[in-house]
């Protein structure tokens, strides 16, 4: 990354941060009852949950901090948090 002096930063450079390694638990998208409501994608504080197709969602492991908001708010309990094993 090019560093500019004088307190300036290039836009959209935070993507270099690997915040995914903060994670204790990872979301597992069960894909049994998903209705495609997009709630998980909308409320993710990282914005790292996204849809692959209409009723299939997944997350970006590079950024997911494992907060569990998607699992807590899924209206059909189709997301489960499981302990991360390294």
């Amino acid at each position: 990354m090019k560093v500019i002096l004088g307190g300036l930063a290039q836009p959209a450079t935070s993507l270099a941060n690997n915040t995914g390694n903060w994670r204790n638990e990872r979301p597992v998208f069960l894909q049994k009852a998903c209705t495609g409501c997009t709630m998980c994608a909308v409320i993710c504080p990282e914005g790292c949950v996204y849809s692959v197709s209409k009723k299939v969602f997944t997350f970006d492991a590079k950024y997911c901090k494992g907060c569990g908001m998607c699992a807590a708010e899924c209206p059909v309990d189709d997301i489960e948090m499981v302990m991360e094993e390294k």
């Binding site: 290039q10 836009p11 935070s14 909308v42 409320i43 990282e46 914005g47 950024y63 907060c67 807590a72």
Partner: protein
């Protein structure tokens, strides 16, 4: 990943409501904006030099002058005849808005700049370690309003910022909550379609400062609304024009308070019932003042569930 204007890789805590709020706001506003932000959590976790989580122009001002810097940006756009090219959004936390930045914000309102000011209200100075601010609710335990033998936490009421903005003759004022993301985005879009100063206050839970479960951020935010403690409404030209109705009967405030460690002392120490009663009274007054209870209870409850 989906394309956002506020990007991943920012260093906010697990379950941060403010990170969610900021993303909702800039995504709704679109790419043609210039943003400023007062010192605070948002600035710290989104613009860790030499990185930036913003995909739009972003200026970090000082703690007190987000509104003043935005005023300058807007005036410059006008002077260059380029005001159609970009909208200006000033941002700040509750401390940077209601306490430290209040005079600059007042100036911005007074001069009538065409700026949307967004206040992310997490109800204390979270960035510096949870000190009380003008928007900290009654009874909250913070490190400058600690609960103890003789204290029940913060003894002042939450400042009514929308009313302060309304007193300046601001054409559009709204409160919102991250529990209702679509509502936040609709309000940002509506605000940007209006010329002149605008003020939106978004309620954003802070799991660290509120000592709540990060996974329950949305649930906590929803309960603040459903108990009547955080009324969601729109004000146009000084008149309340739209209110988010809550299911009847309103939930008791204890349901909201018990999820958060910052109110734990109200339930541990003898005599806390009186304080809880006072908080219930605040909620009841809000319900009465804004007419929050819905007429058709069941229908609204179902709609709220959907969103």
């Amino acid at each position: 990943m989906e394309k956002h204007l506020f990007l991943a890789g920012h260093t906010a805590c697990y379950g941060c409501g403010e990170a969610l709020g900021a993303r909702l706001v800039v995504d709704a506003a679109g790419p043609n904006i210039i943003t400023t932000d007062a010192t605070g959590c948002l600035e710290v976790f989104s613009s860790r030099w030499p990185q930036s989580a913003w995909a739009v122009p972003f200026v970090h001002s000082l703690f007190e002058n987000s509104a003043a810097v935005a005023s300058g940006v807007e005036a410059a756009l006008k002077a260059l005849g380029r005001q159609v090219e970009a909208k200006v959004i000033a941002q700040g936390g509750d401390g940077g808005t209601a306490d430290i930045g209040l005079q600059c914000l007042s100036g911005m309102f007074e001069r009538g700049h065409d700026i949307l000011y967004v206040c992310y209200d997490n109800e204390a100075y979270m960035n510096t370690g949870v000190q009380r601010s003008g928007l900290t609710p009654y009874g909250s335990n913070t490190c400058t309003s600690p609960s103890g033998k003789v204290s029940w936490g913060n003894r002042y009421l939450k400042k009514d910022m929308p009313a302060i903005a309304a007193a300046h003759g601001v054409p559009y004022i709204a409160t919102a909550s991250v529990a209702y993301p679509k509502d936040v985005q609709a309000k940002v879009k509506k605000a940007l379609s209006i010329t002149g100063p605008k003020y939106i206050q978004v309620h954003v839970p802070c799991p660290l400062g509120w000592k709540s479960d990060p996974a329950l951020t949305i649930k906590v935010a929803k309960l603040a609304v459903e108990t009547g403690l955080y009324p969601i409404y729109e004000m146009e030209n000084g008149v309340v024009t739209k209110v988010r109705k809550i299911p009847r009967p309103a939930k008791p405030v204890t349901e909201y308070l018990k999820l958060q460690g910052r109110f734990a002392h109200l339930f541990k120490k003898g005599g806390g019932e009186g304080e809880v009663k006072k908080i219930q009274q605040i909620a009841d007054e809000n319900i009465k003042k804004y007419g929050l209870l819905s007429e058709a209870a069941a229908k609204v409850a179902v709609e709220a569930e959907k969103e």
